[in-house]
């Protein structure tokens, strides 16, 4: 396979599977949703398909150094449609939680602020008392390899599809019962001025009660497998890079590298994880500095392609 520089599924070593993203697929039941599939060929049944849905719940805000009044939180749950020993659900869940937490922390509202900055997190409802929590549920429908990338992309697409309530329609908290009240749709919102701060909302002018969030940090992943061929004498020919490995290829890899870059600035690396794999090829294959530079170039090109698909 490696000598002919093509794979069992007909792809080249540096060729990704076709990525399709459908947003709003569960619009009746969830605030945001997306279905991602990595498919090699339209005629083939085998594909990696992940469904992600975002629902909202109101709870205590999370106070941090950057957001002293509090901010909303994100909670990720992963499950598989059928039992699959090749996927470690708890590890995948922890990886998604770690990555999406930063994405949500940097989120901004899709509105215009004027006057002095009194910047609250877009998920904050009542400072230090109530905030919106995002519950992301990920379902692995089919696994044909590279589940980590597909799951993260599904979560990102679902978050971009999520609509959260506008805060400027008057939110009040009844502290006795713990209930939060929004003004109903069509309410004639008057622009409020508290001290020197004036805020007005684009969505109130359109009569909308919900809007989407903007993400200054857009984490886009790429996973590459490294296969070390011990029989080759030349050091460079000993290493073979396979992008977007399938489930059969994942078992053979010496090392799996996952790099997450910022879609708005692809030269900035947000996450870098790699460790030796449990492949049949049980030799140690360490990475060199030029290997990491090569992975960064591949990640940058892939991020630009994924951003075009997400924004389209």
């Amino acid at each position: 396979m490696l000598q002919s520089h093509s794979r069992t599924d007909g792809r080249l070593l540096a060729q990704f599977r076709k990525t399709t993203i459908q947003q709003g697929i569960l619009s009746k039941h969830a605030s945001g949703s997306a279905l991602i599939s990595f498919r090699n060929d339209e005629s083939q049944d085998e594909s990696t398909s992940i469904l992600a849905a975002v629902t909202l719940q109101v709870g205590q805000p999370r106070c941090t150094a950057a957001f002293s009044a509090g901010r909303g939180d994100i909670d990720v749950t992963v499950s598989s449609f059928k039992e699959d020993d090749s996927i470690n659900i708890s590890v995948l869940q922890s990886y998604l939680q770690r990555t999406l937490d930063v994405c949500v922390q940097e989120a901004q509202e899709d509105l215009i602020n004027t006057g002095e900055q009194n910047h609250y997190h877009p998920l904050l409802l009542v400072p230090a008392k109530a905030a919106i929590g995002l519950v992301v549920t990920v379902k692995i429908l089919q696994n044909a390899g590279n589940v980590g990338d597909a799951a993260l992309l599904a979560c990102i697409a679902a978050l971009m599809d999520t609509r959260i309530p506008c805060r400027e329609h008057g939110i009040s908290l009844d502290e006795k019962t713990g209930r939060i009240w929004w003004q109903p749709k069509g309410y004639d919102f008057e622009r409020k001025k508290e001290g020197s701060v004036t805020t007005w909302c684009r969505c109130s002018e359109r009569g909308e009660t919900q809007h989407k969030m903007r993400f200054p940090l857009l984490p886009l992943p790429v996973t590459i497998g490294l296969y070390c061929n011990e029989t080759s004498e030349v050091d460079d020919k000993r290493r073979n890079w396979l992008v977007d490995p399938s489930s059969a290829e994942e078992c053979l890899m010496s090392t799996m590298i996952t790099m997450v870059v910022d879609g708005h600035a692809p030269e900035q690396i947000l996450l870098l994880d790699f460790c030796p794999s449990f492949g049949e090829n049980n030799s140690i294959c360490s990475l060199r500095t030029k290997d990491l530079a090569l992975v960064a170039q591949i990640a940058k090109a892939r991020a630009e392609e994924l951003k075009r698909i997400l924004v389209a």
Binding site: N88, I269, L270, L272, P276, F278, N282, T289, A293
Partner: protein, 225 residues
């Protein structure tokens, strides 16, 4: 110019290290690793026959790592350490066996994953498990333009950290890498970490030699006293 760190260290210095081998009598191998106020205890049991036949591997022994800590990333750390230790040990020497490594975090003050790796490797050495290479972990905190090594918990709360595992203390042989949170760094800055980490990892390898030599010396004194 780099500001002084809260504990007075320079950017490239590690916290004081301490390693006690064979501290648990009931385990086949054990080690108590201390790096400043981060204390980690590792115990190795095995190689033994697994209780469940399905856990057997016909040609090599399997390693199971369990980390007892309150961190939410526990499962990721267990999988990460399992893969590193499996690749570094000569697993073909004990086929159809299982090697269980339990790691307790006694005191948490930053750079936990590196301390857990060092404690596990020390416990494996104490148990007499043959290894192909000694993996050395170095945690780097990226604060543009400085790189701080072996950060404390206070420093890790302020910025993202990156743990590099090097093979043979060589900057060009990076065995594994784990980033705690959003790095938001260029590849150039990340590669600088490997150069800085390689220099420090030689000190950790030398420290391991001292720890093993002191254990052997203590045992000889006990036998011949």
């Amino acid at each position: 110019m780099t500001e002084a760190r809260p504990d007075g260290r320079s950017a490239n210095s590690l916290r004081p290290l301490s390693c006690e081998l064979g501290c648990l009598q009931a385990a086949d191998g054990s080690a108590l690793w201390k790096a400043g106020n981060t204390h980690v205890l590792a115990a190795v049991h095995g190689p033994i026959a697994p209780r469940i036949a399905m856990e057997e591997h016909a040609e090599a022994f399997r390693i199971q790592v369990v980390i007892q800590t309150s961190s939410s990333n526990c499962s990721e750390w267990e999988a990460f350490l399992t893969r590193i230790l499996t690749s570094c040990c000569c697993t073909q020497l004990y086929p159809r066996c299982i090697l269980s490594i339990t790691i307790h975090v006694l005191s948490h003050d930053g750079s936990i994953l590196a301390a857990a790796l060092h404690a596990a490797v020390s416990a494996l050495m104490d148990a007499g498990i043959e290894m192909r290479t000694l993996p050395v972990g170095v945690t780097c905190l990226l604060l543009n333009p400085d790189i701080l090594l072996d950060p404390t918990q206070v420093e890790e709360d302020e910025s993202a950290s990156l743990m590099l595992v090097l093979e043979n203390s060589d900057a060009d042989q990076i065995l594994a890498c784990y980033s705690s949170s959003s790095l938001n760094q260029s590849i150039h800055n990340i590669l600088k970490c490997s150069v800085v980490a390689a220099r420090v990892s030689q000190a950790i390898s030398a420290f391991w030699r001292i720890a093993v030599e002191s254990k052997v010396k203590r045992q000889c004194e006990t036998i011949f006293s």
